[in-house]
Symmetry: C3
Amino acid sequence: MPETNNASETPVVQSTPSRRAFLRGAAVAVAVPAVAGALAACKDEGVKTATAGTPPQMTHADSDQSGGTMAPHPKSPAEIRAAADEMDRHHEAGIKSFPAATQGKGNQLMQPRVENGVKVYDLAAEKLMWEVAPGQSVEAWAYNGQVPGPQIRVKEGERVKINFTNRLEESTAIHFHGVALPNGMDGVPFITQPPVKPGESFTYEFTVPNSGSHMYHSHHNSSKQVPMGLLGAFIVEPRGGETHHADVDYVMILNDGSHGYTLNGKGFPATEPIVANRGQKVRIRFMNEGMMIHPMHLHGMPMLVTHKDGYPQPQPWHCDTLNIAPGERWDVMVDCQNPGTWAFHCHILPHAEGPMGMFGMVTALVVK
Amino acid sequence: MPETNNASETPVVQSTPSRRAFLRGAAVAVAVPAVAGALAACKDEGVKTATAGTPPQMTHADSDQSGGTMAPHPKSPAEIRAAADEMDRHHEAGIKSFPAATQGKGNQLMQPRVENGVKVYDLAAEKLMWEVAPGQSVEAWAYNGQVPGPQIRVKEGERVKINFTNRLEESTAIHFHGVALPNGMDGVPFITQPPVKPGESFTYEFTVPNSGSHMYHSHHNSSKQVPMGLLGAFIVEPRGGETHHADVDYVMILNDGSHGYTLNGKGFPATEPIVANRGQKVRIRFMNEGMMIHPMHLHGMPMLVTHKDGYPQPQPWHCDTLNIAPGERWDVMVDCQNPGTWAFHCHILPHAEGPMGMFGMVTALVVK
Amino acid sequence: MPETNNASETPVVQSTPSRRAFLRGAAVAVAVPAVAGALAACKDEGVKTATAGTPPQMTHADSDQSGGTMAPHPKSPAEIRAAADEMDRHHEAGIKSFPAATQGKGNQLMQPRVENGVKVYDLAAEKLMWEVAPGQSVEAWAYNGQVPGPQIRVKEGERVKINFTNRLEESTAIHFHGVALPNGMDGVPFITQPPVKPGESFTYEFTVPNSGSHMYHSHHNSSKQVPMGLLGAFIVEPRGGETHHADVDYVMILNDGSHGYTLNGKGFPATEPIVANRGQKVRIRFMNEGMMIHPMHLHGMPMLVTHKDGYPQPQPWHCDTLNIAPGERWDVMVDCQNPGTWAFHCHILPHAEGPMGMFGMVTALVVK
């Protein structure tokens, strides 16, 4: 992750270790090579100077002072520092690896074929392994091998056909969440259609009636199938064009099931940064496919909330933290006037950071 | 639940089982009579044809292939289908039984008697058994034998008297949530009144000061008493009439305590459908008496949000998923232009569906 | 907590114990001295009369009826009353002790020193014990010995310098949540600055760019450090003055970590009442530093929502229950026209009341 320097601001790092910390530093560096490595990687040069040059046996002498008592041994400054460095090493490693490579990418824009003026999409649901974060693979049930499924982007009033095949071991069906379809296309087994059995197919065909940031997902055994990955974005561009011009149009799908806390199917550091040039406008289409709220917090710049579930808000309004509940979609615009790499994360902190560093629902907005 | 057909749309069911699935279908039908029954009930006729005519012993031959190894036995297409059918049978049974009969109905409009121009309501709290869903009875603490308690509907400026008797085994009191009453009528034990002890009574009397979708509920040991059922709707119609005309005015009280996930005291399929004719306007007054948020999602048509806690929003706005937090009330209008039976449920999916089918916070809007 | 009487309203307490309850009352009073004490303190005089004058042995005779059977012994009215009184005694004691004294007070307005036109604040993080509620002390990590940290209040466009020293045993950093700072001042270790190691310091210096109710808190190991107390209010008054005049400007920081459910670092009854004269306007700046939503419910009067995250809402709107998600800030105005002591609490009821009475996220608005 690039670091941005603002010449007009003056961050000052002051190194103020106690004399004891000074005396013990080197001992720890000898005894805990991993920590020494972390120190070598650390950018905070002043600290390295402060902790150099003391013999290791100082530590042993100190241990002896606790003698045979059962009293808890207060940590020495050097021990504290070593523990802090060890923790920080993990934090740094996660951030430095961002964006980390993983197998598979979800939410890729799908190109339809056009047959007699109808946009045709072929979707198949199947089981696969999905790399959520580096080295963390989970069983997923996915549309066309992606979690989230491929992004479908159509225009208001277009005719759309979706040929769906179920290659899972249980029945399913697709609900186009937010799209005001004729009842027979609504995708709810036993209410609007029979379930699509394993090995079978079902064709959804309709004229797209309303614009907005919508979703498609399973509506059968949904509390299992959606968290497993049977979900995707269904974006409908308005006939007259978007009310707010965007240089970058980004879909961010939140999920929180057995795959962990994910943005577009990946957990930090495998999430994808949003990149824009200074002065560009970024639209973010938040979609919550999970079971919990996620108040998404963008650092550095406010978000202008323009749409809820695809419908315009009467008057857009600003915020920096937007609470997104399951099933909701919110569109926001960011005016990228503040250069730098900005943390962008769920503000339920245990969805974003642990003692070993950031994970889950964290990404960045990079304004170049 | 009625199914709606839209002649202008063309759902196509394609049966594409593999040859193995074709060969094994009948075996399963023989070995698992329950599944055969389910198949007989299934509307998907094409599938039945595809799975007929194969001798049972094919399955045994297949089992033999796993021999003495410990390797997991991959399911055959027929086994997969049988499992899917078995799961679907439960899903279908739940939906087909909707709306299921249960004992007791909450939220019934209560007729007051009028004494000297004052509307008088008698309320008593008592313990009883409450059938939340077919065959599932739970202990409830209820006003006038109903969960939610009887719906009280008055007009702004009217004089109201509520004679309350506590027949529970612990003290209680009634708070009129959202009604800006004089302090002595606010119903908070030890702050505005003494608790109403078991066997005793308390009379609330006031002139109704503000309109809106309000609630009444216990404000004593409330984290126990409210989930147990001591809650109800207190609707105050504005002096000048509602800002939005409604053909159907529906109160939907959400709860999530020891009674499970309920709408007006019942879990699906014992919930009540909302029924309207095409072109009618339906007002829904959402009220959350639970401990969790519930983002309610209506299929097929947007909701126009008009009021929050009884106060008009400056400008109504549309959505299809409305997040309702504990203690909140939201009024929405639905313009019933899209015919059919539409699923209407909490979009925290585990509040609405499990492997055995829909349950809990699910109902339907039926547009005839 | 003062009780308010409204002469125009007539609460009527009716004592209607059964004859059995009448006969047994005294027995319980003898056998359970604590209950007798509670009764003596009880304001409900009518009840005391009703429960006097019966010999204790009635209870024993009654117990004998259950003989050798295993059948549950139904409670007598007197036993029920005694249990209710015992429960109510705890409820009353909590409320009567409000506001209860505890050691330490957080969120105190901090006076800066001014150096060359720059407002300078010295902050240090350290570990201490914090009395959350009477007799309940927890380990806290605090800025300047306070939970929340001292309130920083500056004006839009002012130059601010914050000298921060880390006296904790792990690294940390300060993020100014909601303040649109230059990237280098954003306080996210390894993204915008190195972590501030134990014993070290870091100086944040910036010109305050945007007004509003903001926060400062740790952005390192934050799911541990923020719940432990490393948080505070950072209020930026707009250059042109607030859009809504307030006689009382109150900051209410919600938290829900290992310190329990707290308002400004304290749980009821150690929370602080908000006090105003009738006719005054109170601004409340809600800030959620926790991990859960908290729908704050004010009794007696509506709240006018004016700002979200420091940005004005296009048109203010009224409510009585405002859902505040983690990281969010909401400003509301209360027009104090309704005299009395009004409960003010999170409406997730288990965050506010248990069988032993109110606790956690409860305070009161007192309109004199």
